[in-house]
Structure formats: C-alpha cells, structure tokens
C-alpha cells in the first residue's frame, strides 16, 4: 500500500521480487544497484547467510527525485527463495504495492516455479488481497540456458493471469530494467 506524505511531499511505493530459490531475484537487485544513477540509488542492504543465500531480504531504495512537486521513492525488496523460509516471505510481502515474479526458465525448475507462484497466490490471499488485483509482472530469467523452456510453455504454467512478461538474463542485465520499468509504472498507475 503506497504512502503519500503531503507535508514532506513524498510518495513511497514498495515492490517485492518473489520466486523460487536461485531464480535470480538478488541478481536483479544487484544489477539495478550497479547500473542505476548514483543520485537515484541508496545503499543495498542484504541479509544473507554465510553462503550468501538470502535469509531475510535484500533491500534497495530508489529515489526518483522530485516529480511534479513530489519526491518519489521506490523500495525494492527480495524474498528468500528457499522453501523453508515461507513465513519470512509472508513477512516481506507485507504492505507491498507490486510484485515481480522471477521464474527460472530452466526445464528442471518448472515445478519449483509453479509451486512458488501457487504459494504467492496463497500468501496474498491470506493477507486479504487477491493477486489479480495487485500490480504483477513476470520475468522469465536465465533465457540463455540451452535447457530453457519455450515462453508459451512457461506462460501456460506460470502466468495464468496473462500479466506482462519479460525475458531476461539477469546476470548480464538483460531484461532487468525492462521488468523494473513495467512494474514501477503499474504501481504508479494504481496509486
């Protein structure tokens, strides 16, 4: 749920990157942090295990500066992807304005993707919301893998709501900003 502070003339929006383990959520955020203009990006916070797996969340504040008299900020979060951290994902999703579902295109990860999107639907419902009502964009990551499934197959299994989808190779930055632009605009249009 976005917040508009009239006194300080600020608009705040929260975007969460969701998806199964190793799908590339943190890679997306790290790429954005490496490429976004200095005046836009804040400090990247990662709460990770010793093996650099996300244990709580990654957090990157982006400040678009003053637009039409309002300072506009997007806060990007990732959730931990491993199955055991479902309750942590519930916590991070709290108050989100928009979601990027990052799917792993690898054929062997199809069931993990399906399980993750079903969990997302369940978690959002438990918070009294419906996924159909929320700004949501799908990113099919790891498109450079020889074992990547065709987009129509992925769409049929992961994207029944027929939301905007983007192909990506996040580790090279491909598709990362296309995804971010799409979800940011959806969130703003729903304010």
């Amino acid at each position: 749920m976005a917040l508009i502070n009239v006194a300080s003339r600020e608009i705040h929006c929260k975007i969460v990157y969701y998806g199964p383990g190793f799908c590339g959520k943190t890679t997306n955020i790290e790429y954005i942090h490496s490429q976004a203009p200095k005046e836009v990006k804040g400090e990247l916070l990662s709460i990770a295990t010793e093996t650099e797996r996300t244990i709580f969340f990654d957090f990157l504040p982006l400040d678009l500066g003053t637009v039409a008299g309002f300072r506009t900020r997007f806060h990007l979060y990732t959730v931990p992807g491993q199955i055991i951290y479902e309750k942590t994902r519930v916590a991070v999703l709290n108050g989100s304005d928009g979601i990027v579902f990052v799917a792993d295109s690898n054929r062997s990860r199809l069931q993990d993707n399906v399980a993750s999107i079903k969990e997302l639907q369940r978690v959002v419902s438990a918070q009294g919301r419906q996924l159909a009502d929320l700004p949501l964009v799908i990113q099919y990551n790891k498109r450079d893998l020889p074992s990547a499934l065709p987009i129509p197959v992925l769409n049929a299994m992961i994207n029944p709501l027929k939301r905007s989808h983007f192909e990506a190779v996040a580790v090279k930055g491909q598709g990362v900003f296309d995804t971010l632009r799409a979800i940011s605009k959806e969130v703003i249009s729903k304010l």
Binding site: M1, A2, L3, I4, N5, V6, A7, S8, I11, H12, K14, I32, Q35, A36, P37, V40, G42, E43, L45, F56, F57, F59, P61, L64, G65, V67, A68, G69, F70, T72, R73, H75, Y77, K87, T88, V90, A91, V92, N94, G95, S96, D97, Q127, G128, R129, D133, L134, G173, F177, L180, R181, S184, K185, I188, S189, L191
Partner: protein, 166 residues
C-alpha cells in the same frame, strides 16, 4: 468500499504535525532518544529526536521487517499476536509497537529511560496515533491530489529516463 490495504494513504500536513507533537511528548516524558512512526511496509512517516548514526530508510525497512517476522513467529506459536517488540542492546534499546494494522511506532532509548515507562507511554501514544490514522483513512485527498498534479504521467516519464542501463 475498496479494501483499505489496497488504498493509498495520504498523510496531510496537519496530521504530520499532530504525529510529530505526539512523538515529541513521548520522547520528553520517557527520556527516550529517538522515535519514529512508519508504515508497516517500512516507509517512514515521521521522526523526532536525536537521529541515529545510520541510514533512516534502511532503519525503517529493518524495523518493519523484524516486526513482520515476529508476528509470523507469534502465529507459529499459536499466539494471537506479539503487540510489542523489545530489542535490548548494551547501550541502546528499541521498542516497537503496532498502531492498528497499519503503522508502527518505534522508540530508541538508553539507560536514562526506564523500560517500563517507555512501554507504557509507547502504548498510550500508539492509542493516540490510532485517532490520527483514522483521520488519514477517512479523507480521499489522494485521488484529487494525483489527478490535479498529473503526478502519474510525470513519474512514468521519469521512470523511463532513469530505469535503464547506464
């Protein structure tokens, strides 16, 4: 009526001033160092007192994340809720309390303050904040404001300009 969790909350100048007055009084009465009111998504609404030596935006994200995580722990233990979260350090301590289901009130204090007093006063302040929150929810300034300012279109242009490879 729209689900209020999907509705943009607009905090007016008057409401922000009221929140800051409450925070100021709480810090004075409790001998606490720093107080903040934030949305449960971690976005800061108001701060008062001696600003800690850290990035406040990150502080907000961590407080909200920790509180949300504690609530899931409560559910796992079949506890209805953890209403207050207390974090104890060597020199500084943090108390965070929920303001209905929407906001969080977080207070940082040291040995000058008594934990019990901070807890009681934080609870009282949280109750007073509920009144302001209800005012915030009751007005529909957001739509008028955004329509008038044409903020949406301008932000979209800025998104196109800034969110791209350097």
């Amino acid at each position: 009526m729209a689900d209020e969790r999907l509705t943009t909350l607009v905090v007016s100048e008057r409401e922000l001033a009221d929140i800051e007055t409450l925070l100021e009084k709480l810090l004075f009465d409790a001998h606490a160092n720093f107080g903040m009111v934030l949305d449960r998504s971690g976005q800061l609404i108001a701060t008062k007192g001696k600003v800690p030596q850290c990035d406040l935006v990150i502080l907000g994200a961590l407080v909200a994340g920790t509180f949300a995580s504690a609530r899931e722990l409560a559910k796992a233990l079949n506890e209805e809720d953890f209403h207050v979260l207390f974090q104890q350090g060597n020199e500084q301590h943090v108390i965070t309390t929920l303001v209905e289901e929407q906001w969080l009130l977080s207070i940082i204090f040291d040995q000058r303050a008594y934990l019990g007093l901070v807890k009681v006063l934080a609870k009282e302040t949280a109750q007073e904040l509920v009144t302001i929150l209800q005012q915030v929810r009751s007005h529909s300034e957001a739509q008028q404001l955004l329509a008038k300012k044409d903020v949406t279109t301008s932000v979209e242009h800025k998104i196109d300009a800034l969110f791209r490879d350097s």
